[in-house]
């Protein structure tokens, strides 16, 4: 097994010899399909339905990029990745874009040679416990058994949190969210910890969400965002500005309902520039003038995507909080389209 992993790595490295250096944009266009890395299944963020159609908050980022680049939001091949396999998949060129609630950290950005193109969800790590345990704070978790996904930043935060608060715990390493859910439900761990958004999603998918609570402590900063390989700045620009277009669209009130109207021309020059009626922003990133129009059209602006997948009207029921526009007291702030 070990051997095959290595040979696989070597073979992948070999096959992708020319791959990593060539322009990702050309590869994607030639392939006619965007390879997008997502989770193995986290309801609301990325999960396949009964027919195998993927949907979710992260999936919509993939769709927007595919729409901008290829002109068709359905031309995406979703590659499920675990916390362990995601970086290898991206580094080896198996996927072009990783949109898998991945935390933006210094070492991932620099040492692992990736480029984070922005933040699509400001998150923090939390704990979920059964209500009947009577625990109201994470600081009461002395000696608890904690289920934790390996290969994640949460694993390190967990160790730091318990160390800082002088508490002991028993970690149980698990591979995927589904496995964590199963272990937690079987009572093999007292608490399950991951990003608070992931907990909300997991809790919503339980048979009895009312019997489980998410503790108030948020023990870390987890800015989640899509990322690409180092070294292809044009591709990074495309991903970055597609995400920014979604965010700016919400700020300027461009929605999937009125975008066709606005695309005919408006009084606002910035909207005109974004939607391709003025200037040549598209050509600057190697795309046509309509790229942002198609990206927004795919699943709506950031606010619409949020509301449809994880917002308060969905079972996951996340409030906008930090993820509101800067004008609403949140952290979302797109640089100007100019």
């Amino acid at each position: 097994m070990t051997k095959s992993v290595f040979l696989g790595t070597v073979a992948a490295a070999g096959l992708c010899a020319g791959f990593a250096s060539a322009a990702t944009l050309d590869d994607v266009k030639a392939r006619g399909e965007l390879n997008c890395g997502v989770t193995t299944g986290l309801v609301g963020f990325a999960a396949p339905d009964a027919n195998g159609n993927w949907s979710g908050f992260d999936v919509d980022v993939c769709k927007a990029v595919a729409a901008a680049v290829l002109g068709d939001a359905t031309k995406v091949k979703y590659v499920p990745t675990t916390g362990q396999t995601r970086f290898t998949a991206l580094a080896s060129g198996e996927i072009d874009l990783l949109a898998r609630n991945t935390t933006w950290t210094f070492s991932r950005d620099t040492d692992l040679k990736f480029t984070f193109v922005g933040v699509n969800y400001y998150d923090g790590q939390g704990f979920m416990v059964r209500k009947d345990l009577g625990v109201t704070s994470a600081k009461e978790l002395e000696g608890a058994t904690v289920c934790i996904q390996t290969g994640t930043t949460t694993e390190l935060n967990l160790a730091d949190f318990f160390k800082t608060n002088n508490l002991s715990y028993i970690p149980v390493a698990i591979e995927t969210n589904a496995e964590g859910e199963q272990q937690y439900l079987a009572g093999a761990c007292d608490t399950y910890t991951t990003d608070a958004s992931g907990l909300a999603s997991t809790r919503a998918a339980l048979a009895d969400p009312e019997n489980h609570v998410i503790l108030p402590e948020i023990i870390s900063k987890e800015p989640l965002g899509p990322l690409v390989r180092h070294g292809d700045d044009q591709w990074a620009d495309i991903a970055r500005w597609t995400l920014n277009a979604l965010i700016a669209a919400e700020e300027y009130g461009i929605t999937s309902a009125n975008i066709d109207e606005l695309a005919k021309g408006t009084e606002n020059p910035e909207i005109n520039r974004m939607l391709g009626n003025e200037g040549d922003l598209g050509a600057m990133v190697g795309l046509d003038a309509q790229w942002a129009y198609r990206a927004i059209k795919a699943s709506g602006n950031f606010g619409e995507i949020f509301a449809a997948n994880i917002g308060e009207s969905t079972p996951i029921g996340l409030a906008r909080g930090l993820n509101a526009q800067w004008t609403q007291g949140g952290l979302l702030y797109s640089p100007p389209f100019r």
């Binding site: 097994m1 290595f6 000696g143 608890a144 290969g151």
Partner: protein, 417 residues
């Protein structure tokens, strides 16, 4: 009439490399070797160039950085402040632990099942056949997962042991608790402990060394007593009674040492979320151990059966003719000879078991694959270094097991005089 013909001049032509049988095999070998080396060089060169293209370097300095993660099952001291190198050591020790435990139980299971499968008792023989065929023909990963799932789903949570209305209770005088997370067992404690020796990498308990010394000493003296008894028997024909001497030398020193060290048991008790005090043996370790044992045991059983069948039937007939009962025939005549046939396949089963232990990741048991090849690899992003190091360690481990078993194989080999 002798005609002396001049031998043709032995000139060397290039075509002889192919058409002359004296050179052909060497030519082929050289060509294949060159191709192999070119392939290897291509792989290395490709890796180096791709690493450069990605802007990654190749070094192992990360092993001295702080690991930052915790490991629940460990044999020596480790905290999240320890280095990645130490996490590697913990993983290696965990691998060795489960491999050693697995090899011992698999051998015991294998020998019993292999012998019983040849039993004349129809039911016993068929039952053993069913065992072998079922366990041998289902992938070991599934066995690991099934056994782990049984532990997790069927056993009670620690909470069930709590309070007056507890639905589960501890067994064996309240000393063992089997939960869906771990088995809590009493731990040996010494009130007059001699402390530890620090050998640089980890601490070794002097208490443990003293106990091992007492046991080894007892065994050696017992052997001398038995040898003496045999000599007396050969000289006089009467074997002196030795059982009480054996008992005394085997257990006397051990009891004295234990008493001197103030040996007592620390019982686990439920406090907070989990049992504390005592030793916690995680279910992942037990599931992995059990699954590897029963799976490999099935293969060993077949090797044992083959070994026994390889011994000529005349051997048992001769033994019966001498008046030996079936049990003694098996122990004294058949098995010692069968060992020669059994040991070589047994070596490869031990190697398989050790390598299969890397499936531990499936149940979250942090062995070498889980620490170095799992968390460390992920947190540092050093795939190539970690995987290469892991391969080297498994390779070294396998070669060591092979070497040790080969020494044993040589000792039981048919001695030709």
């Amino acid at each position: 009439m002798a005609i002396v013909t001049e031998a043709p001049k032995a000139g060397f032509r290039l075509s002889m490399l192919i058409y002359d049988t004296r050179y052909r095999s060497i030519t082929i070998q050289i060509v294949v070797l060159l191709l192999f080396m070119a392939g290897a060089a291509w792989l290395v060169d490709n890796t180096v160039r791709n690493l450069q293209a990605l802007g990654k370097d190749f070094n192992f300095s990360f092993l001295w950085n702080r690991a930052g993660y915790d490991i629940n099952q460990r044999l020596v001291e480790y905290t999240n402040d320890s280095t990645h190198g130490r996490a590697l050591l913990i993983g290696l020790l965990n691998t060795l632990l489960v491999a050693a435990m697995g090899c011992v139980t698999a051998t015991i299971i294998g020998v019993f099942v292999g012998v019983l499968r040849l039993s004349k008792n129809w039911l016993v023989a068929r039952l053993m056949t069913v065992y072998v065929e079922v366990f041998r023909n289902v992938p070991v990963l599934l066995w690991i997962l099934i056994i782990y799932a049984i532990f997790t789903e069927v056993m009670p949570a620690p909470n069930a042991f709590r309070g007056e209305a507890a639905t589960s209770s501890m067994v064996l005088f309240d000393s063992f608790a089997f939960t869906n997370r771990y088995a809590a067992a009493p731990e040996p404690l010494f009130s007059r402990s001699l402390g530890n020796i620090d050998i640089g990498i980890f601490l070794i308990s002097i208490d443990l060394l003293a106990i091992i010394a007492a046991i080894t000493g007892g065994i050696l003296v017992n052997r001398a007593i038995k040898a003496h008894a045999t000599r007396v028997q050969e000289a006089t024909g009467v074997r002196p009674v030795t059982w009480w001497k054996s008992l005394l030398v085997l257990f006397g020193p051990l009891l004295v040492v234990l008493f001197a060290l103030g040996f007592h048991l620390g019982y686990p008790e439920l406090r907070g979320f989990n049992f504390v005090g005592g030793t916690l043996i995680s279910n992942s370790l037990m599931a992995l151990w059990l699954a590897l044992s029963v799976y490999t045991g099935a293969f060993i059983a077949e090797a044992v059966r083959a070994g026994i069948l390889a011994i000529s039937h005349g051997q048992s007939e001769a033994a019966f003719a001498l008046g030996l009962r079936p049990g003694r025939t098996m122990n004294l005549v058949i098995l010692p000879q069968a060992l020669r046939v059994i040991i070589p396949p047994l070596i490869s089963q031990y190697l398989n078991l050790t390598k299969n232990s890397s499936l531990a990741i499936a149940v979250g048991y942090l062995d070498l694959r889980g620490t170095l090849g799992g968390i460390t690899l992920n947190q540092t992003g050093r795939e190539l270094e970690c995987v290469l190091l892991m391969m080297l360690i498994y390779l070294a481990l396998s070669l060591l097991i092979s070497a040790a078993m080969n020494v044993y194989n040589n000792s039981v080999r048919l001695k030709e005089r």
